[in-house]
């Protein structure tokens, strides 16, 4: 379980999360929605340990993440951020190899196939379209073995067919794991999720 306990977080005078609590359980796929600037990505960054709450705490399977090293946090959760920098001309396969073999999911091959990356493996990430880069970024998060998967806008820049394939993947993964997906209301993906958390 991801247990978000009374988290407050502000940037300057701007309070983004105020005494916010929520839980995400194993075996469920939760949609995190809300308007622009409501704090969806901030919440992902807090759960990911990249930001630290001003007050309150976040626990993943009983571990207070602020007490864990980045390396140990990575065992508990895997995250696809909204944006990654693809500046260096690594090939797709080199990029996916950033996740060490021993930490890779058993589903790795399936994920690469479902996300349509098989034909792109030897291409340079710098030469891919934005949508293709988005799929590489998503794959990089999904092939990492973890208990929870947090995906920030995984459908952005993808066509309908790959959206459906991504949703199928998420549905399969949530059988054993917990999944939290940030998505705009406009994506029409509500019905696929077990539950929705709305941030205001």
């Amino acid at each position: 379980m991801i247990d978000i306990k009374r988290v407050t977080f502000s940037r300057g005078a701007n309070v983004i999360l105020d005494d916010f609590s929520a839980q995400i359980l194993n075996g469920e796929a939760v949609l995190l929605s809300g308007s622009n600037g409501a704090g969806k990505s901030t919440l992902i960054q807090l759960i990911g340990g990249f930001l630290t709450p001003d007050s309150g705490s976040i626990e993943i399977i009983g571990n207070d993440i602020s007490q864990l090293k980045a390396k140990d946090q990575a065992q508990l959760r895997s995250i696809a951020p909204q944006r990654r920098i693809f500046d260096l001309a690594f090939t797709v396969v080199q990029t996916l190899n950033f996740v060490p073999k021993k930490r890779r999911s058993l589903r790795t091959h399936q994920i690469i196939e479902e996300l349509g990356l098989v034909d792109l493996l030897d291409k340079k990430v710098t030469e891919l379209s934005i949508g293709q880069q988005q799929r590489v970024s998503l794959a990089l998060a999904l092939i990492q073995e973890a208990d929870f998967y947090l995906l920030d806008e995984p459908f952005a820049g993808q066509d309908a067919a790959s959206q459906v394939r991504t949703i199928n993947l998420i549905n399969e993964i949530k059988n054993e794991k917990g999944v939290l997906v940030v998505s705009h209301n406009s994506d029409n993906t509500h019905s696929w999720f077990d539950r929705e958390i709305v941030l205001n």
Binding site: G48, S78, L88, Q94
Partner: protein, 329 residues
């Protein structure tokens, strides 16, 4: 992979040939065959020229050239900026000021341990200062580095011109970047520091691939970006402090070599690091050979040669490279 092995083998052979050539030629024309000097018990002017002057100088060119290549790879990777190079972002000027300050105050002599440590300290402080002052990681960072660098260079100039010590004037040659002051003592003082820098650089390079995806991505994949930046600055300060205190500030090697190697073998940092080190050694050894033999019997500062070749190459590079790698904050 084949290409890399080819570069390694070709590079090592070229380095060995240049090394022998460096021992063989110079202002003094050897009367004794080099083989006899190296492998038979030989005394006299020829032997002492080779053993005491040319050998330390050639070894210095190899280790400091490699150090500059390593430093360029680490600086570009850690600042995610293809133009981040120790001379451009102020580290070298910091080390120059440190060296000049410590020598002019009489606290230490050129090439001593104290000189090397002070240069390392100044390089590290400069790196931190530029990072702290810079508004962003792109052009703002570079311009801040250039500004800080020119302040430190001016300060160094002031110290030199106002110093009563006549010996400080002889540093002006060093100031342009030159291996002419190198001797075995200097190498003994700076090599261990350089070594620490190299080991740290290899430790850092393993993580730079993941780090290249951005701070958040890096953290999510288990690599703490703040920690890796800390170690990278340590590596840079040791590499640059050691080489600047010994041979002065030499521009463009650390900038251009990683670019050339990246174009040949791709961006993976560990391989990039080792091959850039090899090529750095070759280039510095070759440039020094030119510096001391082209206008015999006069020697020209090595830094002038690397700048004369490097600056136009930089312009070509800027015109060709897509600006995207500089634009990120």
């Amino acid at each position: 992979m084949k290409r890399e092995i080819g570069i390694y083998i070709g590079g090592v052979i070229l380095l060995a040939l240049l090394f022998l050539l460096s021992l063989r030629i110079g202002v003094l024309h050897l009367q004794t065959p080099l083989f006899d000097i190296l492998f038979k018990n030989n005394h006299g002017v020829d032997a002492s020229t080779v053993w005491d002057i040319r050998l330390p100088r050639a070894l210095g060119a190899i280790i400091f050239g490699a150090g500059l290549g390593f430093a360029g790879v680490i600086a570009q990777g850690i600042f995610r900026n293809p133009l981040a190079e120790p001379t451009l972002i102020g580290l070298s000027s910091g080390a120059v000021l440190g060296t000049i300050a410590v020598i002019s105050s009489g606290a230490a002599v050129y090439g001593s341990r104290t000189n090397v440590y002070v240069a390392v300290l100044f390089a590290a402080s400069t790196a931190l200062m530029v990072q702290w002052l810079a508004p962003n990681k792109g052009f703002g960072f570079l311009l801040t580095g250039i500004a800080v660098s020119s302040i430190l260079t001016s300060l160094a100039g002031l110290v030199i011109t106002s110093s009563p010590k006549p010996s400080i004037q002889s540093l002006s040659f060093w100031n342009f970047g030159s291996l002419s002051l190198l001797n075995s003592e200097t190498i003994r003082a700076s090599a261990p520091v350089l070594e620490v820098g190299i080991i740290t650089a290899f430790f850092v390079a393993r993580k730079l691939d993941i780090y290249s995806l951005g701070d958040a991505s890096s953290h999510y994949l288990g690599v703490n970006p703040k920690r890796i930046r800390f170690w990278a600055i340590i590596a840079l300060a040791f590499l640059i402090g050691a080489s600047v205190s010994a041979i002065g500030s030499i521009a463009f090697i650390g900038l251009l070599i990683p670019h050339i190697v990246r174009a040949l073998i791709g961006p993976a940092h560990r391989r990039l690091l080792s091959i850039s080190g090899l090529i750095g050694a070759i280039v510095l050894l070759a440039a020094d050979l030119v510096a001391r033999t082209a206008f015999e019997p006069h020697e020209i500062p090595l830094g002038l040669i690397t700048s004369l070749i490097g600056a136009p190459a930089l312009i070509i590079l800027i015109r060709r490279s897509r600006a995207q790698w500089v634009a990120h904050d």
